[in-house]
Subunit: 221 residues, 2 copies
Amino acid sequence: MSELAGKTIAVLGGTGPQGRGLARRFAQAGLSVVIGGRGAEKAEATAAELVEATGGKVTGAANPDAAAAADVVLVVVPWDGHKELLESLKDVLAGKIVVDCVNPLGFDKQGPFALKVEEGSATEQAAAILTESTVVGAFHNVSAALLEDPELSSIDTDVFVLGDERDATDLVQELAASIPGVRGVWGGRRRNAHQVEALTANLIAMNRRYKTHAGVKATGV
Amino acid sequence: MSELAGKTIAVLGGTGPQGRGLARRFAQAGLSVVIGGRGAEKAEATAAELVEATGGKVTGAANPDAAAAADVVLVVVPWDGHKELLESLKDVLAGKIVVDCVNPLGFDKQGPFALKVEEGSATEQAAAILTESTVVGAFHNVSAALLEDPELSSIDTDVFVLGDERDATDLVQELAASIPGVRGVWGGRRRNAHQVEALTANLIAMNRRYKTHAGVKATGV
């Protein structure tokens, strides 16, 4: 864990299941984690729960303070509000690696579907706003239920890491691999992030059909 | 192979690497295959090669005749020409199961990328044209190089089958599973086909980075 050593990871939206699950796994891996939330209080409460559950280094703060405290900032907020949050944090995120984990999805009677995004994807929207940050897309397809399952010591899945800057994508691959069982695999440039985000709709549909928590792996890699 | 037994499979565009590779595997599985091509002559030549290679039941014909001869018709043509071909075959494909395998991709100096499709995806375009057929999307992410490799007896990959009609998607899952090593997994409705088609751009990018022929598998299914 050479490049990751000593780095602090913020998880904006870390009070929701997906962010909380990722924070739990990073804390278990010995990383310093800051949970970001809309309010400091709920973030601090989530952090306290994760300290108790993992014995790791987890603190909580309001999203802007969490972002300021970290080297690598994961964005795990609902799609509704993604743009506004990133616009409000543009300055504090300058110079940092920002990992967008957001899936723009809709749901109706026929189940999940991918939303159209003007910029192409959540990751590209983040890159368009955060022109002073290095934006990577990752952690789109990992089940929150598996991340949060305290009985599950290892998760059999790949994390596709999308980005154009090799140092940053290498670091995020290493971050993914800090979770036992998980591989971080470079999955293409940011302009190919949409389909990885949208694939989560397929996985949710498969979850319903097969009564499971589906993930994806690349074969041959 | 209960539902598949006795069925004839046409592979339109079966003279190209992807279609030829699928036809080879279906022939090896003992299925009756008709290679479709723009001209009968090249399709017949490809069929003769596959008979020699596999000892299977493979014939060749021009695309409309191949479509007419089959119960299940795979469309494995270049995206450029997809719409026109299907419009020209609308009547002959009526009442049949049509499996769209086409990936609308572009390539530039930065590698592969997904093209925008007015109907959402190649599969949805096919369904919009072929209103009297049952349209399923599948076989998007299987490497032609692996399909065509005579040394490779088994291919470690899943085929995501996209469709709204259970009988048809079940049959196509069975068709996928006729290739040793391959699982056919229902991957969602047609409206979620785009991201599975587009994911091929990511796999091609990964092939270049990792010097491999990448595929995908669902975990937890």
